[in-house]
Amino acid sequence: MKYVEEYRDADLTGKLLSDLRRAVSRPWTLMEVCGGQTHSIIKSGLDEMLPHEITLIHGPGCPVCVTPLELVDKAIALAMRPEVIFTSYGDMLRVPGSERDLFAVRAAGGDVRIVYSPLDALKIAKDNPNKTVVFFAIGFETTAPANAMAVVQAKAQKIQNFAVLVSHVTVPAAIRALMESPDVRVDGFLAAGHVCTVMGYWEYEPLAIQYRIPIVVTGFEPVDLLHGILMCVQELEAGRQEVRNAYARSVTRDGNKPAQSVIQRVFEICDRAWRGIGIIPQSGYRLRPEFAFYDAEQRFPEVRSIETKESPLCISGLVLQGIKKPVECTAFGKECTPERPLGATMVSSEGACAAYYRYGRLAAKGKS
């Protein structure tokens, strides 16, 4: 497949690793923001091939992981209602709520369906006029255009038995929160290639200046990741703090303007709680008042009173901020496994804990 194989090429990967060894002269800590990148790094073993000076830490960019427990409990309450068909991206179904997950609701007779696209949820609403179809609209800016379009289309096609439970988060606010945290030490960021495909990278330029930190827009294949890491190390070694683009085949500075315009039409910026981290100001999207009719929390006001506190046992909040590695948790691989997860970073395939478990990083070890 064009645009895939050449970016997994072993020779080119080896060449880039050699160049990285030549470029690096001192220790640097880089954070890849996106969980998809974490998964790719661990799967391809890049973390174990990098020069020992470079430490990759894994960021909070897994929407399944950062969706607050309270929203999961609200989703479960909605899914248990007999008049509701609850629709979601598949990853969310295994996320443990306070008492159960969405799979358990389905096993108990709830109508919970996995959809590939929010437009599929809209079609289910059309096909089931006597039910209310609720779609769990989670995600970063990458997913926001799709979720926003489902709401626009519901209004345009006058589909009234459709509502969305929104838990949208944004990357620049997370970078700002990480840089403001006294516990987080990051020298450079790999920005998420598909978030930037939608939003461009102009938003990151003031962050790079304010926090004096290079930010490199990076793709997802091993060659893309090494290209991003190399660019970031070159910036650091040269004492520069710029925003650079290592994923130019998909990302422009301005991003996808039609997608941004529909996001802005449907959503407005709000404060949002991130699971394990807490409330980050101005870090999420909610529906604008003119689309309130499609807000599941307005349609079913009884779920608004659900308030949930998180378990103190799980350190996923520290993992999500790159303060701890999964293997530094005493429960990792013991009480907490993908089959019986204690926290969301073990649930989603893009959670750092699940990626470490799946690809055999079972014990804490020093870098070679």
Binding site: M1, K2, Y3, V4, E6, L12, K15, L16, L17, S18, D19, R21, R22, C34, G35, G36, G61, C62, P63, V64, Y89, D91, Y116, S117, P118, L119, D120, I138, G139, F140, T142, T143, P145, A146, M149, Q153, A156, Q157, A192, G193, H194, V195, T197, V198, F220, V223, H227, L230, A246, A248, R249, S250, V251, N256, P258, A259, V262, S348, E350
Partner: protein, 83 residues
Amino acid sequence: MCLGIPGKVIELYHTNGMQMARIDFGGVIKEACMEYLPDVKVGDYTIIHVGFGLSILDEAEALETMELLKQIDALGSEEGTAA
């Protein structure tokens, strides 16, 4: 979650007023919405995420990047420092 997969546009059409396409992902054909890619043409490669095209992959940029990445190493090899 933000997984985006490159696919080739093989057919364009409208459904419910939306620009839709059939996309070939290396032999697997799926439908995707092209509302965010007003300039898309049959034959373009696009990044698809949850059923929506988000970008048209820029072949010139891709070639330029590949050339650059290969050249970096060629210089290193000439210096005899490649591992």
